[in-house]
């Protein structure tokens, strides 16, 4: 197959995911991830930011939540929240940013993914400010909000929002203190109507952190990767008490397919989650987008894991 830029970047990501957890590259990545994200500042911070473009849905939500929403002039093709974004022009996304459109909108700050190095260089050449972002842990949501607020001149609102999120997460932790923690398999992708190509959360990243706050223990906690391809054998051997299948709202299983999707798990009859009817579907953007709605997302998870406590 001919090399295509999109294929290449996907390959690069795939290769990184394949590296063993103790590999120096993986280590350095994890290091970068567990530290607060590395924000490149290519512009003096006290410059007034008036025209923002966000290519990252999670950061778009953060910008709206700290009151910078009205200054956003364009978003990515994946953005759907808050509903106002649907009226904004879209300038591509992670793999296909439209540089020409971005430049023509004359932004003074562009939010990009940390992996979009070409785009960052192009923007730097055009002297446009860049804020680079990577998905990381739950703690990085609030640290990103704080850095972002300082950058856009909404520091006070960002601080208030961050504290609200931290208090919200703490409240969930407090509520679940001392409760038994079900061993949970957190699936975020698989083939339809088959237990093939199952992707689950590993022991790092916001999904894993949310699961921990929500009072569960990740069965893949020891795997230092954000995504694990879980084989049938591993699932049988790990014996999770609960299987949470989470997807973005627009990837939800159609209502008519849900019984069939549930019954594919019956092959693994010895798994406690399957036996006790605790394979649960959570189709909720608040879980899969690590933005300001993480508290609500974590609450949804907690309700699924501890239904008796949230009546």
């Amino acid at each position: 197959m001919a090399a295509h830029p999109k294929t290449l970047s996907v390959w690069a990501i795939a290769l990184l995911l394949l590296l063993p957890p103790n590999h120096p590259i993986t280590k350095s990545l994890n290091h970068q991830i567990t530290q607060s994200p590395n924000h490149q500042i290519t512009q003096s911070p006290n410059h007034q930011i008036r025209r923002i473009i966000s290519l990252v849905p999670a950061v778009t939500e953060m910008l709206y939540a700290i009151g910078a929403g009205p200054r956003i002039v364009a978003v990515s093709s994946y953005d759907t929240y808050p509903p106002e974004v649907k009226k904004l022009p879209n300038v591509g996304a992670l793999l296909d940013p439209n540089v020409e459109r971005i430049l023509s909108l004359k932004p003074d700050l562009v939010i990009v993914y940390g992996s979009q190095t070409d785009l960052m260089q192009q923007l730097a050449r055009a002297s446009i400010g860049v804020f680079d972002y990577r998905h990381a842990g739950l703690a990085d949501v609030t640290s990103t909000i704080r850095t972002l607020g300082e950058r856009t001149g909404d520091g006070a609102a960002a601080e208030a929002l961050s504290q609200r999120i931290e208090r919200g997460l703490d409240a969930i932790r407090q509520k679940l203190k001392g409760r038994p923690r079900p061993r949970t398999l957190l699936v975020f992708g698989r083939e339809r109507l088959a237990l093939r190509g199952i992707y689950a959360s590993g022991g790092i990243g916001f999904l894993n952190d949310m699961l921990e706050v929500a009072g569960g223990t990740n069965v893949f906690a020891e795997v230092r990767m954000q995504a694990v391809q879980a084989s049938t054998e591993q699932i049988l051997a790990k014996r999770p008490d609960v299987v949470l299948e989470t997807r973005a709202t627009n990837s939800a299983f159609p209502i008519g397919d849900r019984d069939a999707e549930l019954s594919v798990w019956k092959t693994l009859a010895s798994v406690p989650a399957v036996r006790n009817g605790r394979v649960l579907f959570l189709f909720d953007d608040r879980i899969v987008i690590p933005g300001p709605r993480v508290v609500e997302g974590t609450e949804v998870m907690a309700k699924a894991l501890h239904p008796d406590l949230f009546k």
Binding site: A14, Y78, E233
Partner: protein
């Protein structure tokens, strides 16, 4: 040595290797299981984790590996014989790229409706391979009486490129997660978690191998060139047609089970020829058996080497197969 004795020796040698691999593979894995517990039928199956790991996870996976390996290796032999080109693989004529297009469509557009209880991706992959086979055949047939292998090769290579472009085109509209799943499908995966994909591919597999058995002698004659083969009484067009369709269907069946796992279809035929010589009556059964053993072995490595994480089996086939093949090439006197 007579052919019968060489045939028996080949079959026993490679057969023993394959059987040994098939016996060992389900016993080894990232989890330690207790064999006595596996076959302890006094415990209900749904309560017996060891038995479930053995019968639900490992056995179907081993069988899938054996089927896919045998199909790719034998199809590789037939394609190399048909095209009289040592570089031909089961993927040369666009069959696997057609299958990839089917799979990518099923993944990207979230098709859930399969066929007879099989999920959509394998069905779409097999359908895609059939489309590719029909198009390539029609092209090779169009302006020639009989089948032109040159046109076949050119049409196949072109369709490969064309389908690749379509795959990228569809991927362009996919979400990031779907793109990753597609990519992962392209690397091959034998964790089938049920016997359904294997059973679904079984009729095609049996038919393909029956034709392969008949093809051994015609392929020997074809290796002399179509004209000499014709003068020795071979219906060349019929043989070529049989070779093309059987090997293509075999490839389609294998891809529907495990995805386009590379390298098996090119390395195993050559390896086997280095050992038993060029006679297709020996090469075909030997490649079938050795292909099965090789892929099951590679999958064993893939699922244990970085446990609890798994490597895609396609990476292992190339990593193990490549250097081993080069060593054989150099070592040969």
């Amino acid at each position: 040595m007579t052919l019968a004795r060489r045939f028996a020796r080949t079959l026993i040698g490679f057969g023993a290797l394959t059987i040994a691999t098939l016996l060992v593979a389900p016993l080894v894995g990232p989890t330690a299981i207790n064999l006595r517990r596996v076959f302890d039928f006094s415990v209900p199956f749904r309560d017996n984790t060891d038995a479930q790991i053995f019968f639900v996870a490992r056995l179907p996976r081993t069988l899938a590996g054996a089927c896919v390996g045998a199909l790719f290796a034998a199809a590789g032999v037939v394609f190399q014989g048909l095209l009289r080109n040592p570089l031909a693989t089961p993927f040369t004529l666009g069959v696997s790229t057609g299958a990839a297009l089917g799979a990518v469509l099923a993944i990207t557009f979230n098709w859930s409706v399969g066929f007879a209880g099989i999920s959509a991706v394998p069905v779409a992959a097999f359908a895609g391979s059939l489309v590719a086979v029909v198009i390539v055949y029609a092209l090779a047939q169009a302006r020639h009486r009989g089948l032109s292998t040159t046109v076949l090769l050119l049409a196949g290579v072109t369709m490969n490129a064309f389908f690749s472009a379509l795959v990228l085109f569809v991927q362009y509209f996919a979400s990031f997660a779907d793109t990753y799943r597609t990519l992962r499908w392209l690397m091959g995966d034998l964790d089938v978690s049920s016997y359904q994909p294997i059973l679904a591919a079984l009729p095609t597999t049996v038919a393909a191998f029956l034709i392969f058995a008949w093809l051994a002698r015609p392929l020997n004659l074809l290796s002399l060139g179509p004209d000499s083969a014709e003068s020795r009484g071979l219906d060349v067009t019929r043989a070529q047609r049989a070779a093309f369709f059987s090997a293509s269907l075999a490839t389609g069946a294998a891809v529907s089970i495990g995805g386009p796992i590379g390298f098996v279809g090119i390395i195993i035929p050559h390896l086997v020829r280095l050992i038993v010589g060029p006679d297709h009556r020996l090469v075909l059964p030997a490649a079938t058996l050795f292909g099965a053993a090789f892929l099951v072995g590679c999958d064993l490595v893939a699922r244990t080497i970085l446990a609890p994480v798994e490597l895609p089996v396609g990476i292992i086939t190339a990593l193990i197969g490549g250097p081993f093949f080069l060593w054989l090439l150099i070592r040969r006197p």
